[in-house]
Symmetry: C2
């Protein structure tokens, strides 16, 4: 096994395979006698790390945005870049059902970057942070040939006896549900990168979704309050993120494709491509969760966003997704979500 | 003021000027009514952020290592790169007098990186982490043209009523002191980059100092226990890091140059250059602190490392360092410490 791995590039192993390897090393090194090990609830492999603090469960999530990998300066204004960088971390805390509180921001910048651009970036971050009373309290700055923004968001459960949302609690019989509409962020990327001209209202909607995603903090807490146990935020794409839940929970899912809440403006402007954008586009930062029909019903009643049931969890440990039409007949799936390093 | 800044590149403003600008934006956005603002003790501008947790003071520090800026793969084996990346964050917690507990690691890697190299990097991290019962619990992986390692280390004060070490508590009359010996990390960089041949014992010593620095966690806690209030870790260089204390505390310092504990092997192998390596080399990760002569004496008695008084804090708000000879006569200072973006 070791010999096979040693001859491999990370592009061959893929992002998720690599994370599995690294999680093993970290887990083996963990001392179960030391406080860190005893108090740890979730290490590598969920939306955020979680451990027992002195009163609540503490949460921490890290995210990176790398120039020309995750964004281009041609498409992303500095203010929005700051917003987006923090939004990814806040969304991870939302996916655990937690309350974000502090952020650390590490910036790597070329020396010829305009100071005003960097302060704009920071203002974009603080604009989003203020909406959730999140304070930026530290970080690091370095010179670098590329712009790189690394954020770590720290938070906790809201109250002392609140549970967290994990990827590993989905059970056969659960409904699969999603908050809001999907596909707008991917539509924004398509529109901006291919310079597609569409009506001003849709343009504004897609731009906002792609450049200033809004983390579902309130919805994550609502899920906890209503008894949901399993959730993830849609950052890689519905299919890819659902796969993470299925693998962590050792179950499979049947998704009825016509139930997926593709945003009407995406349908109107992208025709046949709209469903693919909603299934695999990523960066929507909606919450994908599983729970009994009764619990999903309660969430749906109380949520200020639409909540849509898109399918069912089934008892099959392989972690597979079957896409079906209205009659339940399987449909073949093309491209999956966004995975770093994957060369296919 | 705004107009001047807006026409400026970050290389003209310099790292520390940029941090000041960003700290202002973060501070202005801070809500003093929200929990995050109320509980915050130290935001941007010290070794780590600090806030009141449910029982102790909580600490968080972020650090980045960027290929060809902070390290080269030619000089730094992967295992040592992992060690070093985590050591920087642990050292920040040490400089606050805290106990590190959890680390989040974000890796950006070219797709053609060997998986074994990445697992070696992670093993280097866990080898150091295990020595302090620090668990790696999360992070992020991305593809990138450069290798970038971002670590966030989380910790807290040891006990409930323990204070923290800040940069802003130095007072006129304090002695300036340092743990251990200086210059070995810079000697290691010189030796490896210029391929200088020296005796095997010194080679091993410099290599270890440069590639596997040992964070002074125990010493940081000893400082707290003995009543020290002011400390920083020497990452940028003695002169540069002392300047941070002086500016934050609004005092100045007189340093007697012959008292600076240059490592004997650096003296033996670098002659006239040895003092410069010790003053400005950086990455020694020793603790630089100020306290009354009595407190420094107590620290010195109980420390397992040598503790050396190198000068005095004086009442002058300009934050200046006067280097003196044995008779107290001023000596001119050349190059200062390591500052990102600075073009001079």
């Amino acid at each position: 096994m070791r010999a096979i791995i040693s001859a491999m590039k990370v592009s061959e192993l893929g992002e998720f395979g690599l994370i599995e390897q690294l999680a093993k090393i970290a887990y083996q090194a963990l001392s179960k006698e030391a406080a860190a090990g005893k108090q740890l609830i979730i290490g590598i492999g969920d939306d955020a790390a979680a451990w027992h603090g002195d009163a609540k469960v503490e949460l921490a999530a890290a995210d990176s945005l790398i120039q020309d990998v995750h964004f281009t300066l041609a498409m992303t204004p500095w203010n929005e870049l700051g917003w987006k960088a923090l939004a990814a971390g806040l969304s991870d805390i939302a996916a655990m059902g937690g309350v974000p509180k502090y952020a650390l921001v590490s910036l790597a910048l070329p020396g010829d970057t305009e100071v005003e651009d960097v302060t704009d970036l920071y203002r974009g971050m603080t604009q989003l942070g203020q909406q959730f009373d999140v304070a930026i309290v530290g970080g690091d700055t370095s010179s670098s040939p590329l712009v790189i923004i690394n954020t770590t968001v720290l938070g906790s459960t809201k109250g002392q006896n609140m549970h967290i949302l994990t990827r590993s609690a989905a059970k056969p019989g659960d409904k699969v549900a999603v908050t809001g509409y999907l596909g707008t962020a991917a539509a924004g990327l398509e529109m901006l990168s291919k310079k597609i001209q569409i009506d001003p209202e849709a343009t504004a909607c897609f731009k906002k979704a792609f450049l200033q995603p809004y983390p579902r903090i309130a919805e994550g807490q609502l899920l906890v309050e209503q008894g949901v146990k399993t959730a993830i935020d849609i950052s890689d794409g519905l299919i890819s993120d659902l796969s993470h839940i299925l693998k962590a929970s050792q179950v499979s899912a049947r998704i009825e494709i016509e139930r997926v809440p593709v945003h009407p403006a995406v349908k109107a402007n992208f025709g046949d491509k709209a469903v693919a954008l909603a299934l695999s586009g990523g960066e929507d930062y909606e919450l994908l969760f599983t729970a009994s029909a009764r619990v999903v019903g309660r969430v749906s009643e109380k949520a200020s966003l639409p909540v849509t049931v898109i399918g069912d969890i089934v008892a099959d440990k392989r972690g597979e997704i079957t896409l079906t039409d209205r009659e339940g007949k399987p449909i073949r799936l093309g491209k999956t979500g966004w995975e770093h390093f994957a060369t296919r």
